[in-house]
């Protein structure tokens, strides 16, 4: 679909070996987790194969990205940039589109240990960054998508909850600045860098251009390309001589747990106790992790294989785990640990709960501590069927999260009864708090079978119904409310926000070349 002169112009920018229009290679960019749901939602046959890009380019620098974007503007070619590139939003939506694969831009530009920020390029992964930060006794906020995904992508472009969110917050709020090739090819270096050459602040002078770049959800790659991000860092609670050490063999690795770390699973009979306990505990900014799921989820999190998880479920966890949350206390010192340990125990006792680890109902291994801090636990949810996706996502406070959980259950049960999604008795949820407990969100991880048409269709229908429930019952904005059609539906009960998004799109992408499939077009669906 690309004229030769356009292709050659792109080739001149990145070099012969960093561009392709070979169908075989392009095909690997046409396949995405989530395409099967989006195609089902469009009423098509569910398939992970989607639109094949016209070319893929592998730039190595911001200047190359800028030159590519300018060519796209010049020749009316759409583009989307990806970093680690997992999920439907990493695909392109029209044939005359190129994909900008940023995997060659993979440097950690700076770790400013004193001032606790790092500057990274798109293809630095969470695990890589964490491994390097640990050498300075630091860590960053890693999104739940996993250790192999890009923190730049999350901080600049995507909703960013993570397992350590009580301690490290949300990716939107951790961004200190970004280098951004906007859709018309201009480069913005927002915040202090533009003025000082240093990345310590992302806001100003005056208002913050962070305001147009991402929002809570992120622009999902629909508004240009981010080539650098400066992000906040946090203290990693371990002694200075502690090192990340792994022993053993897959799947049962062993890890040297830092001193003063402990996992708890406070379990309560009723939502009310759960809610009060979660408020009271996380309000103290004393925990690294505070997250909730179902019995099935708990089994998946603290086991190493699918079979082991299933055995644990049927060994009694199903009956035992009611309303629980997992708490990781990770303290810097014995004194700090003693306080936090006492706090957790106090709250369990106050609300008539019990710690499922203490009762022996679940037994996290040292490796699960490692997986907690490396944001690997979310990946365990894939073990049941190689696939899951989340519905809902409303983010405000703990009370809202609990309400969504309650409202979701009967909805989910319907689809479980149909046999199209995994049976977690409607209990499968994921709640995490942020910044102590100043915010919380709930999503509903749901297992389905990507290779089964009925299951894909069923999940898609379930997600649509969840969206409707959220909209009608004012349960917050779900995660995947992107693209013109659904934006317009939600806009009707959400201050008609698409009109502003469209104006931003029109102002910053006058030629409409930055793929809008998971963002918005300036013109709308007319």
């Amino acid at each position: 679909m690309l004229e030769d002169n356009v292709y050659w112009a792109l080739e001149a920018i990145v070099g012969h070996s960093n561009i392709t229009r070979s169908p075989a290679i392009l095909e690997s960019y046409a396949f995405q987790w989530g395409f099967e749901i989006e195609s089902a939602q469009r009423g098509e046959e569910p398939s992970r194969f989607g639109q094949r890009p016209a070319a893929v380019v592998l730039p190595a620098s911001t200047e190359e990205v800028q030159a590519i974007v300018r060519i796209c503007n010049e020749h009316n070619v759409k583009f989307k940039a990806i970093s680690t590139g997992m999920g439907a939003w990493a695909g392109i939506s029209s044939p005359r589109s190129i994909l900008i694969d940023l995997r060659r831009m993979n440097r950690i530009i700076e770790i400013n240990a004193k001032n606790m920020y790092a500057v990274i390029e798109p293809y630095v992964t969470n695990a890589e960054l964490q491994a390097e930060l640990l050498k300075y006794g630091l860590m960053h906020h890693a999104q739940g998508a996993g250790p192999q995904t890009s923190p730049l992508a999350s901080h600049t472009s995507f909703a960013g909850p993570g397992f350590t969110s009580p301690y490290t917050g949300h990716s939107d709020r951790n961004l200190l600045g970004a280098e951004w090739v906007v859709p018309n090819g201009d480069i913005l270096r927002i915040g202090s860098f533009d003025q000082t050459g240093q990345w310590f602040s992302g806001d100003g002078p005056g208002f913050s251009l962070r305001g147009i770049m991402r929002g809570w959800l992120g622009a999902y790659g629909g508004l240009g390309v981010f080539t650098k991000a400066a992000i906040k860092l946090y203290s990693f609670p371990a002694p200075s001589d502690w090192k990340w050490e792994i022993s053993g063999t897959i799947p049962h690795y062993d890890w040297k747990v830092p001193p003063f770390w402990k996992l708890y699973v406070p379990n309560f009979e009723e939502w009310e106790q759960f809610e009060n306990a979660l408020y009271e505990l996380t309000g103290q900014d004393a925990v690294m992790m505070a997250t909730s799921s179902s019995a099935e989820g708990l089994a998946a999190l603290f086991t190493d294989t699918k079979m082991e998880a299933i055995e644990v479920i049927f060994a009694g966890l199903l009956a035992k785990a009611k309303r629980y949350f997992i708490v990781l206390v990770a303290a810097h010192s014995e004194r700090e640990f003693k306080y936090r340990d006492k706090l957790v125990r106090h709250i369990i006792e106050k609300y008539d709960g019990e710690d499922l680890i203490e009762t022996g109902d679940i037994s996290p291994r040292p490796s699960h501590y490692a997986e907690s801090i490396r944001n690997m636990l979310g990946g365990h949810a894939f073990r049941f069927s190689n696939c899951f996706q989340s519905t809902h996502g409303g983010m405000d406070c703990i009370s809202l999260a609990v309400r969504i959980a309650q409202e979701n259950r009967p909805v989910k049960e319907k689809y479980i009864d149909k046999g199209v999604i995994g049976d977690d008795r409607g209990e499968g949820i994921w709640i995490t708090t942020y910044e102590g407990n100043h915010m919380a969100h709930l999503e509903v991880p749901t297992v389905y079978n990507a290779a089964d048409k009925e299951s894909c269709m069923g999940y898609a229908e379930y997600q649509n119904e969840c969206n409707r429930v959220d909209l009608e019952r004012a349960l917050g904005m779900p995660f995947f409310i992107v693209g013109d059609k659904i934006h317009d539906i939600f806009g009707q009960r959400t201050m008609n926000y698409p009109r502003w998004l469209r104006r931003i799109k029109a102002a910053f992408d006058p030629n409409g070349v930055s793929d809008s499939s998971h963002y918005i077009t300036a013109q709308g669906d007319e």
Binding site: Q195, L217, Y279, M477, T494, W500
Partner: protein, 487 residues
């Protein structure tokens, strides 16, 4: 301004809220407005802005007077003052979610006790004016004194309701919906999530915009639990470096509540109001002072307080820092009072002759000694004694960066001193800008310098944003890079 417009404005807000008598202190050189109106609702504000768009007049919004540093003013255009001070309702205090919803006329002196009686505390800037609008302060990203609660530079501002310059009403963050506020409350929400809605963060465009994007009609403010135990300690040093090193080690840990550094001049001026008192206090102090608050809240507050206190003292000792309940003539209890209350002394009605002008910007804590030395050198070149140079360093965003503030005290009755100080401010600001200071909240002349330095693409982006939300440049023209004329 034509009488039809004035009559229409009077019609919108009512006779009592309309005045052609200008009873405000105006920044030097600012032309007088056609009228001052006191709207009482977002609906009225919408109507007024729509009228301004239609009839091409400008609106300068205030909620508790003009900022000290103010704009270059509106010239060549008819304008009105929209004074929001009468929109002063505390709409909601949600203790469980630690959040307050307030209108722009709510002042610090009004809100602090109300929150306290509900068991909450406001995350305060250092000695805000008692009559200062809480929302106006936070919309300007004024630094708060507790860095551990300052997760993002936008804190503690959360959601807002805003009327954009286009006249459209909007709610930002989770307050946008889906659903009305009542529906949201009924589903357990508390307008706590400032992000969004959806794929943009309008609150970040409103905040820091100096009123150029929209007029905020209410906002939710993140609060914290009132501590059961709370002590303030101080440490001194003749050089700033040890205090900075200690600060870095403790900022990582999020142990402290209040955490700020200042020089003797600054501290003496905030605790004493007259020259003699200042000098007496100052002479009892070392050159540099670190102020550290420790608190205990929640279900086992004493445990929290004691562990944090002990950890803090242990860390201090490791760094050779001696923390104590008092320093010189200042007791921690007095500091605690200052840190938890608004200031009457700094109120606009103060009759003090010794006043100050400020230079403030953001940098990192380790760069502050460099900036201090340069400003001191510059001051000496202007014949300004360092005895009149207050320095306040406020770590923000959990220690990632620092608000660095220089207060230059001078005798306002001495015109020569006034002029020298003004010249010094401009020179020092230019110098600091060249040396890497980030003037993230630029006003007046600094604003011009900052936007001259900004890249072309950045300035163009600012204009694009402005054209989206205030397409006719109705709101606060003259602020930021948005010049006095039509843009």
């Amino acid at each position: 301004m034509n009488s039809d417009i004035l009559n229409r404005l009077k019609e919108i807000v009512g006779d009592d809220a309309f005045s052609r008598t200008i009873n405000l202190t105006f920044p030097h050189g600012m032309e007088l407005p056609s009228c001052v109106i006191h709207p009482s609702s977002s609906h009225e504000i919408q109507q007024i802005i729509k009228l301004a768009n239609k009839k091409s007049f400008r609106i300068h919004t205030i909620s508790s007077g003009f900022p000290h540093h103010s704009s270059r003013g509106i010239k060549g255009h008819e304008y009105i003052i929209m004074d929001l001070s009468k929109m002063n309702r505390i709409l909601r205090i949600d203790v469980k979610n630690r959040v307050a919803m307030i209108e722009p006329g709510v002042t610090f002196e009004l809100l602090i006790p109300k929150l306290e009686s509900a068991g909450l505390r406001l995350l305060l800037p250092l000695l805000p004016r008692a009559g200062k609008s809480v929302l106006a302060a936070y919309l300007d990203r004024v630094p708060i004194t507790i860095p551990r609660f300052h997760w993002d530079s936008s804190d503690p501002l959360l959601c807002t309701e805003v009327v954009f310059g286009s006249g459209d009403l909007f709610r930002t963050g989770s307050a946008a919906g889906p659903g009305s506020l009542e529906e949201q409350w009924s589903s357990g929400q508390a307008q706590k999530n400032p992000m969004g809605p959806s794929q943009f963060d309008p609150y970040r465009l409103i905040q820091g915009s100096q009123g150029t994007i929209g007029i905020v009609t209410w906002g939710t403010i993140k609060c914290e639990s009132l501590p059961t135990y709370h002590e303030v300690y101080m440490a001194g040093s003749d050089t700033i470096d040890p205090l900075i090193e200690f600060s870095y080690s403790i900022l990582r840990r999020r142990l402290l509540d209040e955490h700020l550094l200042m020089n003797d001049v600054y501290l003496s001026h905030i605790v004493e109001s007259n020259a003699y008192g200042c000098e007496t206090v100052r002479s009892s102090l070392p050159k540099w002072i670190l102020i550290a608050g420790v608190s205990g809240t929640g279900p086992i507050p004493l445990d929290e307080f004691e562990y944090k206190r002990d950890e803090t003292f242990e860390l201090a000792e490791k760094h050779g820092i001696e923390l104590a309940p008092a320093l010189g003539k200042i007791h921690g209890e007095k500091m605690k009072h200052l840190l938890t209350h608004s200031s009457l002394k700094n109120d606009r009605n103060s009759q003090s002759i010794v006043v100050s002008k400020k230079i403030f910007f953001i940098t990192t804590l380790d760069q502050t000694p460099f900036h201090v030395s340069k400003v001191e050198k510059c001051a000496s070149e202007y014949g300004t004694s360092t005895d009149n140079l207050g320095v306040y360093l406020q770590p923000i965003v959990q220690g990632v960066n620092t608000h660095c503030e220089f207060d230059i005290y001078y005798d306002s009755s001495d015109q020569r001193e006034v002029r020298t100080t003004e010249r010094f401010i401009v020179t020092a600001s230019r110098l600091l800008l060249d040396l890497g200071a980030f003037f993230s909240r630029p006003y007046g002349a600094i604003s011009d310098m900052v936007f001259e330095k900004a890249s072309k693409s950045m300035v163009e982006s600012y204009y694009k944003v402005k054209s989206i939300f205030d397409p006719n440049n109705i709101l606060n023209p003259g602020y930021l890079c948005f010049g006095r004329g039509n843009q």
